[in-house]
């Protein structure tokens, strides 16, 4: 099951693309209250947004982004049938991707 939820909304002649990703975004500086051990850093490092196969956003991020990250972008235009794809890669080499077709 994908960790990425995508929503697209037409606003005038643009398309707002929103995403909510399930990810702990651990900084590596928090301690587990039960074990008193540091919880290892585990966060997304790279995120890309593609439109009809072409990467239009390349994002590098760190753990200063909140848990369960949310992002929104504004695409100029955007036609029904256009494919939106979001991919992420984290510091432990996990990755996920999700596609959404504009209505």
């Amino acid at each position: 099951m994908s960790s990425i939820k995508i929503r697209a909304k037409r606003i005038d002649d643009k398309t707002q693309i929103r995403m909510l990703i399930t990810h702990p975004m651990e900084t590596g500086r928090n301690k587990d209250p039960k074990t008193n051990q540091l919880i290892p850093a585990h966060h997304i490092q790279e995120l890309t947004l593609s439109h009809n196969g072409k990467v239009i956003v390349n994002c590098q991020m760190g753990a200063s982004i909140s848990k369960d990250p949310y992002f929104a972008f504004m695409l100029k235009g955007g036609e029904p049938g256009d494919k939106i794809k979001i991919e992420w890669l984290d510091n432990l080499a996990n990755k996920d991707s999700e596609e959404h077709v504009l209505k």
């Binding site: 939820k5 909510l20 369960d68 949310y70």
Partner: protein, 309 residues
């Protein structure tokens, strides 16, 4: 100098004293109606807040907040602090654009629809209307069990009758089930009933109400101290929300928790924060507290699941 308990005791003693004095005056002025005065005195006692019926409690409760927040309509209380703190409201609206509880609704629907492995039955079999659009009527008085049943308790009772282990009542799977059930009731107004034909229901309500107004713990606060007397004011950096509408936005994704949690989780957290005893989630006293608070909030729309700080 004088402790709050001492002051409260004095206040009650004074009230009783004043009552007796006025009765004495009536008796002195109208000796022939002294027996009537004695008959009337229970009515006088009935008018003291301690003895008022739930409907009267509700009216007084709302009137208090109407005075404090004249700009608010009843339904505004559904959004708690966001109805009275504009900066927090802006932040909340930004997060509502794509709220973090959405996943809980989806997961909750999956959990709700899955059959119980041992019996093959479903959660839907335990609830009226297959569990859809009913959250606004909980807590419900259960005549057979003789207790106020919250939605969380009803879910666990259902599990028990299907030979499943009970779920933690503060976090985890239960919050997903509750998120789904609350979502199907979104917009419906809270509708809590205290059946008149069962005095135990009123007693449960009363127990919840007494708990709410009772000072307790090291800080000697009652729930009412913060959420009635000081609603809208700050305690350190926090603005205190009104208790009116406190029960309709659950379960919630609390930013502080970074995850979903139930109303009872919040009750317990608050009790710990005032350094009072935090009774177990879904214990009788907390269910009765929820019963009382929900009844106070009748008519306010369900906004669960929600995000809160």
């Amino acid at each position: 100098m004088f402790s709050n308990n001492y002051r409260v005791c004095c206040a009650y003693l004074f009230q009783i004293f004043a009552c007796v004095q006025s009765l004495k005056k009536v008796r002195a002025a109208y000796p022939s109606i002294a027996p009537c005065a004695l008959l009337l005195s229970p009515l006088l006692l009935a008018s003291l807040p301690l003895q008022a019926g739930p409907q009267q409690d509700q009216q007084q409760f709302r009137e208090h907040y109407r005075q404090l927040f004249p700009q608010l309509q009843l339904q505004d209380y559904a959004n708690g602090i966001y109805a009275i703190d504009p900066v927090a409201r802006e932040s909340w609206l930004a997060i509502e654009e794509f709220p973090p509880y959405e996943d809980a609704i989806d997961q909750g629907e999956k959990l709700f629809s899955a059959p119980f492995p041992k019996t093959g039955r479903h959660y839907a079999d335990c609830f009226p209307n297959h569990g859809i659009g009913i959250a606004h009527r909980y807590p419900k008085w259960d005549k057979d069990k003789g207790e106020a049943v919250t939605l969380a308790k009803a879910l666990n009772d259902c599990r028990e009758s299907n030979r499943e282990q009970l779920l933690d009542a503060e976090k985890g799977d239960i919050t997903q089930l509750l998120a789904y059930m609350a979502y199907t009731s979104r917009g419906k107004t809270i509708e809590i009933v205290i059946p008149e034909d069962d005095p135990r229901a009123l007693a449960a309500y009363q127990q919840g109400k007494d708990f709410y107004y009772r000072r307790q713990g090291q800080l000697n606060f009652a729930c009412a101290t913060c959420h009635v007397q000081n609603a809208g004011k700050r305690i350190r950096s926090e603005i205190l929300s009104a208790s009116l509408g406190h029960t309709g936005n659950w379960p919630t994704y609390r930013l502080k928790w970074g995850e979903m949690g139930t109303l009872h989780r919040r009750f317990r957290e608050c009790l710990s924060q005032i350094k009072a005893e935090a009774q177990p989630a879904q214990s009788a006293i907390l269910r009765n507290l929820e019963y009382f608070l929900s009844f106070m909030s009748n008519g306010i729309p369900i906004t669960g699941p929600s995000t809160r700080k």
